[in-house]
Amino acid sequence: MRKEPVKVREVEAEKRVAGFDEVVLGYSEEEALTEASRCLQCKNPVCINGCPVGINIKGFIHHITQKDYKGAYFTIREKNNFPSICGRVCPAEYQCRKACILTRKGSPFASDNSINIHFLERFTGQMGINNGWMVPSETSEDLSKFKVAVVGSGPAGLCCAGELARKGIQVTIFESLHKTGGVLRYGIPPFRLPHSILDFEIDYLKKIGVVFKPNSIIGKGKTLQELKNEGFDAIFLGLGAGIPTFLGIPGENLGNITSANEFLTRANLMSAFKFPDYHTPVNIGRHVIVVGGGNTAMDAARVALRLQKMRGIPLDTTLVYRRSEVEMPARRLEIAHAKEEGLKLKFLVKPEEFIGDANGLVQKLKCVACELGEPDASGRRRPVEIKGSDFELDCDLAVVAIGLKANAILPKVTPELTTDKNGDVIVDPQTMETSIKNVFAGGDIVGGEGTVIEAMGMAKRAAQGIINRLLAPTSGTNLENTKGVGYANKC
């Protein structure tokens, strides 16, 4: 008989919602060995096709079964610089696990029975951290004379910097915020990705020579030209998609309606949940509404539940989404965690208007019910309003999490940098070089809002593009708008 999947240990919901500590505890060695032994080691491992960066999943799992954890670690590291991060935040149920042969055919996401590849990756990443395994640098004299500037310290920037530094290139990362990590720091809450894990990966980059310059907003402070003048031979733009989108409905600028970015930045980056020891405040309500169906919405909702709990307010956080549960782009794991923690979900609900009180604070959200119509451009069934079905929800704090747009500060002041109608930077899909020679880009600034692993995939390609460019300065480029592959956060 086939073995049952090994459940990962988690902090129980009641306990974890009282703080920001990590929810998923990960596999022990024994659990990892049992789960790895479930892998069928397929002759044709389709799971690998499901990975945006093509990790040799079959190979690393085989190493685990042989207790060769170092082998497993370096197998992953051939394609992915940050297994301990991706093992936590990758939407595996839409990627490798969905492709796994054990997932039922035609299922919109991974079956429970599919191999828990992400937990095995996380286990392997943790082994790497515990043992201080470092991928050996392959410095070469040809490359070590070059200097590269990386703009943005999110997943794309960190990955590109690591790739280049390991070849001996002198890399400096410029970050506009006071702390590095980009969305991994300000967006993803520590209960999904502890800051200690992120700090470990950043420290690793420092060890291999990467210089970090926080508080540096390229485009407002230095320009790209000035970076070139300072002797940077190439530049990588990992600017990210950090501009929040709003609903554009009446009343949206009432008090206590925030973007998910603001709510999460206050809580995560600024540690507002430790107010007043940390000085940045964050408001929480008695009736919190989160609008959206993606991972950012789930993060915001779970932060809201924690803030309610920590401030002694009875849990009442509701997520409203205009389609149904199956269309939610959020990770299934996060949806399950959020439900366990007490999140209420209302599907087929479209916000129409926020209604405020005399002090200009939000009081109610007026909504209309929807039903699913024909599929739209995303392939998912379009929500269609049901006339006359208007209703109101109590709402004294609302978080809008319906998507993010490309960061515009640098492109705005750099007219030679060609962008598309969404503000995304256009690149040569093979080399990731932009319309400016020696300037490359990757991550959400190129593909629109995507995942950490997709950003890293692009950054790796860009790193190779940069190396080729540095070694062959005269070759041509082929500009084309490239879109992120696979899963994207479409609401």
Partner: protein, 278 residues
């Protein structure tokens, strides 16, 4: 890491204090233009607070900030001294003030807003404008940069709420007299100060149909367009003060909304101030 190289008290009255700092900030010193601001964190556990760049010194790579010690974070900054390091500073942020030769310009500064008027006044004067400057403060001891602004102005007025210096009353009283005096109307009015002052200026100049710019002080977290906490309604559109502003056409600003949005953390502010940790 940025360091305080000069500190002086510009005004002090019944517990209210306006303090001037000169701090090291190379990028900002080299790049900042009048109207732009920086985000500053005093300590690692601190808030990111927006402050206008009042002056720059390219040679020393320093910038001047002027702060009214009003809330917890500005009081914390006020407790720092020459030689102390500040945790983080980024900038310059926001758009610069459009500087050109308009002809005659009225500049209105209220309270610590006077600090924002000063770099703009210098730049407008240099561009060949005739400057009418109106400064207002609660009282004589809180009036800042009087001599500096007098030196660049062609006409100069001071008002205090209590009549302790200049004329008793508000800046908008002087503005009204100028607009109603029958002389040619100024080409543009530039006003920075407390929201009620800017709002009254906007109402006055709207009636007279004189273009007016104001610099808004909406609450911000990152200051780079990522949080949207500083959104303001300008005409029928929602704009981010940090990246679309901080200056907007005063006649298009939804003042009531801005006033209310700036109040959403009042309770926490009271709480942290009462802990007496500064």
């Amino acid at each position: 890491m940025t360091r305080i190289v000069e500190k002086s008290i510009l005004g002090q009255y019944q517990g209210a204090r306006i303090t001037r700092f000169v701090i090291t900030a190379e990028d900002v010193a080299l790049k900042a233009k009048p109207g732009q601001f920086i985000m500053l964190m005093v300590k690692e556990e601190g808030e990111r607070i927006p402050l206008t760049v009042v002056d720059t010194n390219k040679k020393d790579k320093t910038v001047t900030l002027i702060v009214q010690e009003l809330g917890f974070s500005t009081k914390l900054l006020g407790s720092m001294n020459v030689g102390d390091s500040l945790y983080a500073l980024v900038g310059p942020l926001g758009h610069a003030t459009p500087i050109q030769n308009f002809g005659e310009v009225v500049l209105i500064g209220g309270g610590v807003g006077i600090a924002e008027i000063y770099p703009v006044a210098k730049a407008l004067k240099e561009a060949g404008n005739r400057l009418i400057t109106i400064l207002g403060s609660r009282t004589k001891d809180l009036l800042i940069l009087e001599n500096e602004l007098k030196a660049v102005s062609d006409e100069f007025y001071v008002t205090t709420d209590d009549g302790s210096h200049g004329r008793k009353g508000f800046t908008v009283d002087v503005l009204k007299e100028i607009l109603e005096s029958g002389r040619p109307l100024p080409k543009i009015v530039y006003a920075v100060g407390p929201i009620p002052m800017m709002r009254r200026v906007a109402e006055t100049t709207k009636a007279a149909n004189v273009k007016t710019l104001v610099s808004l002080n909406a609450l911000m977290v990152d200051g780079t367009g990522m949080c949207g906490g500083c959104r303001v309604t300008i005409g029928s559109e929602s704009k981010f003060t940090c990246v679309d502003g901080p200056e907007f056409d005063a006649h298009d600003v939804n003042w009531a909304e801005l006033t209310k949005r700036n109040q959403v953390f009042v309770e926490q502010e009271k709480h942290i101030c009462h802990l007496g940790r500064v």
